[in-house]
Amino acid sequence: MFGAGGGTSSYREVEETDVVLLWGSNARDAHPIWFHHLLKGIRNGSRLYVIDPRRTSSAEWADVWMGLNVGSDIALANTMAREIIHAGLAHEQFIANGTTGFEAYREAVESYTLEFGERATGVPGDAIREAALTYARADKAMVCWTLGITEHHNAVDNVLALINLALLTGHVGRWGSGCNPLRGQNNVQGGGDMGAIPNKLPGFQDIEEDHAARARIGALWGTTIQPRCGLNLTQMLHAMARRDLTALFVIGENPAQSDADAHHVEDALAGLDHLVVQEIFLTRTAEFAHVVLPAAATWCEGEGTVTNSERRVQRVRKATEPPAGAKDELWIISQLAKRLGHDWGTPTAEDVWNEFRVVAPHFAGGMSYARLEALGGIQWPCPDESHPGETFLHARLWQVPCGGRPAPFSVVHHDPPVESPDAEFPMLLTTGRRLESYNTGVQSGRYDSPLHSGEALDISPEDAARLGVESGETVSVVSRRGCVIVPARIDPSLRAGMVFMTLHFPDEVATNRLTIDVSDPKSGTAEFKACAVRVERATRHDLAAEGVVS
């Protein structure tokens, strides 16, 4: 945000802040390590608001749970903003110094009255107001979010709505105040850092706008870099469907099961002329591949770095040899390059890292392997070897005059999910994660454990009673795109009308056959969090169709 692609705050700040808005995140289950830091904060007295349609296990640690309607995040944020402005709690000095676009924003949120907010979000107005004023009045406060914000058709707008709150109250660029997307894996951040996103060069240098970076890096690489964005995953799938994209190289990703509307994804993969999958397991996606390249698991069988949610780059060291036949990923890439006519030799992970430091000097110039090891990791940016790394970002916005470009307010408006419940599909399915499993289960589902409970449809006690469904009874869940058979689990954390599933057991329950293939045009993220479904007690016919009975 504001030109930097990472969370602004350090873990230590989570432990020392006064107020946390945990928005669209069940971090206790999905980000348990980060949640440990939050627990320290709670113990130290920080006030926690959990904003989530479900009253999750994270919400059980909160002072206040706000159970908004799925996809009403912008309405809630804008309503809070209006309350803050009307209470005279907008941080005028910060706004004047470090931001742009406040007037337009103020006008835009003016229509988000408490009454409107309550109607759109379901959250009682007094609770919205209390949360808004507490956040604004706090000395230190942060807003943290995950996929509950981003897995929507308006993902970027959702994020901007939260950032607006931070700008409005000056809760960014200071110790203990910030905006933090929590990363779902140990190195999601690192992938972005290295440029594995379609619109950025390494170190978040913009491929379209940053002409100097393009020229400099192009010279280093002996090529001309086009000022053109690549495709994000959703765009690729569409391009594959159109057969504009006919060859695909997939590294460590399982789109056959992780992406929305799985039927279409499978068709797209099957229709490719050439599919190469580099993997540590033979995934469902790999089953479609023409070539599978067995890779070493770099976290323990190779060297390198990872970057965590607080932007800390840390060394990864080889602890064990890969199994026979599995190759170091760097070796695979180098060999591919060689066969494509570019002899890169056999670079070590440190060689590659040092090239990155030259490519993105302002970002990582000071992070030698020696320093990373000596300091136990360094938080970017770290431009030179005397720099300790940044604990928090955007202090520049507080400099008078503002250092660099001020942060812009963004006008964003409430835009509910594309599908809403109707007579035919009267319930809303939202998806997420559970503590003991990970995404499509490639890494977590392969162990034969008696504790694995498998997938279930979480359903409110009220809906279960209405449908006459007992806990454990098999039901069919039907959306406009598909149908799955799954045992029901009665979950009091859900209100009537809402059901919940995960994508952890795609081989048994292909949840993404139900989800809707609409995505945010800016980020490409699909709207996993909302689709309309119908839940029925499974008939013998359904079970037979699924092979459950003959």
Binding site: E60, V64, G67, L68, V123, A127, P492, A496
Partner: protein, 607 residues
């Protein structure tokens, strides 16, 4: 509910009522109320941190269930968990920690019959044998309306054999009764009434008494009577002196803790006063559970206002904002008397803004340990903490805490009124003041005796009338189960901290249990071993394993096989002493070792 879902069992309305009476009605479906309020679908301000902040009410809530229903069902436990946002596994761990709490169905009417050492000297074995014959403890044949069960020391050793009667219900009754016969127990089991025993009047002339001077002579339920006998004069004087001067007097008096560890009280107070962190807490340790100890009960039953006054003085001196008095669960009368004294003192505006809350134990010896008591008040298993940090720095709820024994505090008003010089003029140079001694076992007049430090063991036994004519003194247990036996030829021992230490024994909590030649001493030693095995909290290995090995070895000795078992006992005892976290394990071999090496109970051992 966190982590683990409880079984689906629902609480009964009786269980719900018992919990709600303590915690108030639930505010939403998120803290145990019924679903259906539309507001609950979209907001929760309870059931999270706010509910968890009341975790310290877990033990009171469990006790409320126990005393209303007679046991803690899974539905009842689950409801408490909903109310306090405690994981059921966690709450189950707490419920099963305390012996007075039942986690399987139990009749509402229960008689806990003491079969511990002091009662053993006074016929507890014959009593329990008679009950075994006529009223079996358990029966699977039919639902029983009452049952009796064995209990460790109930702190009623002056009227041994003793029993605790608990009758659960809407108006629960609990009575600690003495001089129990099999007929009496059967009568109560069959529905007969039980009542509190008649008050004790110390046999010593009042002129010899400091701490006991009101006991049995001044109405313990009357604030007026207390004030008329000089009550609250010390608190008034303390306020005119100022906190520093009070601490200076207490320090100069060289008052040492009377719970067993004998730590200088003034140093504790000074340390807490100088801690910057607030709030600070005062905990009065009334979890008197050392077998053979009943002095604190006699003080609380007989002079409860003096404890309230002493706590108020201590809080004033140390800057404690809030006080807890943790009374062992087996002392219902003491709890009632203190509750009344606290309320009457508050109503008369005598204690200023200082609030005292009573917490009742659940039947766990270990909770008398100075940090286990914090865990128990905080709603956890009473497992002692590692030290440091010491309580004066980080005690109850992690805050600076003064923890003092009842008798220790009872000395404070005298120090304030008479001055440290007068206080220290009594006793020896290092052990100042008077001491309450709990005379029990085979003496003519068991009871609490107050004597200056330095009184000889023989003189004390004489005060209590000595052993019965024609009987021979066999041994004296000094300091309780965690103390040591001494021989009949050691009656000249002066009872001070320094003299007992030099003689390789201890005053401990003031237990002087006299054993004559009618008693099977080896059985007594075995009972002590069983006591420690039963009361070990299980947290640290040396104690958890050691107390079991120790009892096993003693059992094997009973079957012959002496030399190897004695060697094993010594090894295990050394490991417990060196490596246990707290005093329980560190002293679990003490009395047994003394029986071996001092009484030569198992023959001459040259070790």
């Amino acid at each position: 509910m966190l982590d683990i879902k409880a079984v689906e069992a629902e609480p009964t309305s009786e269980e719900r009522g018992a919990i709600d009476a303590l915690l108030g009605a639930p505010q939403s479906s998120w803290d145990g109320g019924p679903r259906g309020n539309p507001r609950d679908a979209h907001v929760a301000t309870v059931g999270g941190r706010e509910s968890r902040a009341r975790r310290h009410l877990l033990l009171p809530a469990l006790r409320a269930l126990q005393s209303r229903v007679g046991w803690i069902s899974q539905g009842g436990l689950g409801y408490i968990c909903d109310r306090l946002n405690v994981p059921p596994a966690d709450a189950w761990g707490v419920a099963t920690f305390y012996a007075l709490l039942a986690t399987s169905p139990r009749p509402k009417r229960v008689v806990h019959v003491c079969d511990d050492i002091a009662c053993k000297c006074k016929g507890a074995d014959a009593l329990t044998a008679a009950l075994e014959r006529s009223a079996p403890r358990t029966s699977n044949l039919e639902p029983r309306t009452s049952l009796w069960m064995r209990s460790p020391c109930l702190g009623m050793c002056d009227r041994a054999p003793a029993a605790l009667v608990t009758i659960a219900g809407e108006h629960p009754r609990e009575h600690l009764i003495g001089d129990v016969s099999p007929e009496r127990v059967r009568e109560i089991l069959d529905g007969g009434a039980a009542d509190d025993p008649a008050p004790v009047v110390p046999r010593q002339p009042v002129s010899d008494l400091r701490l006991l001077r009101r006991v049995g002579r001044v109405d313990p339920a009357s604030l007026e009577a207390y004030r008329a006998s000089g009550g609250f004069a010390a608190l008034e004087k303390a306020r005119t002196m100022g906190p520093e001067a009070v601490i200076a007097e207490v320090t100069a008096s060289r008052l040492m803790g009377r719970g067993g560890a004998a730590f200088p009280t003034g140093r504790k107070w000074d340390a807490v006063r100088n801690e910057p962190s607030t709030p600070r807490y005062l905990v009065c340790n009334a979890d008197e559970s050392e077998p053979g100890t009943f002095k604190d009960r006699v003080l609380m039953d007989g002079d409860p206002f003096s404890i309230v006054e002493a706590m108020a003085i201590a809080a004033f001196a140390t800057g404690c904002e809030k006080g807890f008095i943790y009374i062992r669960g087996e002392y219902p009368l003491a709890a009632a008397r203190l509750q009344h004294a606290i309320e009457a003192s508050r109503a008369a505006n005598l204690t200023g803004g200082f609030e005292i809350e009573i917490r009742r134990g659940g039947g766990a010896y270990i909770c008398g340990e100075e940090t286990a008591i914090f865990e128990s008040i905080e709603g956890r298993r009473g497992e002692p903490r590692n030290k440091p940090p010491f309580p004066v720095h980080a005690g109850l709820f992690g805050q600076p805490t003064v923890v003092n024994n009842v008798e220790t505090l009872a000395n404070v008003p005298h120090i304030v009124l008479d001055g440290s010089r007068a206080f220290a003029a009594v006793g020896s140079a290092q052990s100042t003041g008077t001491r309450l001694f709990c005379l029990s076992g085979n003496v003519a007049f068991p009871g609490v005796y107050e004597a200056p430090f330095g009184v000889t063991l023989g003189a004390l036994i004489e005060m209590a009338g000595g052993v019965a004519p024609g009987r021979a003194l066999r041994a004296v247990l000094l300091g309780g189960a965690a103390g040591t036996f001494v021989r009949p030829d050691e009656l000249d021992l002066k009872l001070t901290h320094e003299d007992t230490r030099a003689a390789g024994t201890t005053l401990g909590s003031g237990v002087v249990m006299v054993v004559d030649d009618t008693v099977d001493l080896r059985a007594l030693v075995l009972r002590i071993a069983a006591f420690f095995r039963d009361e070990s909290c299980g947290q640290c290995v040396p104690c958890r394993v050691g107390t079991i090995r120790q009892e096993e070895a003693l059992q094997r000795i009973a079957n012959g096989n002496l030399a190897t078992q004695l060697a094993l006992l010594d090894d295990v005892g050394a490991a417990m002493k060196d490596a246990s976290i707290c005093g329980l394990g560190q002293t679990a071999y003490s009395a047994i070792e003394s029986a071996i090496k001092r009484l030569h109970l198992y023959g001459s051992v040259s070790r």
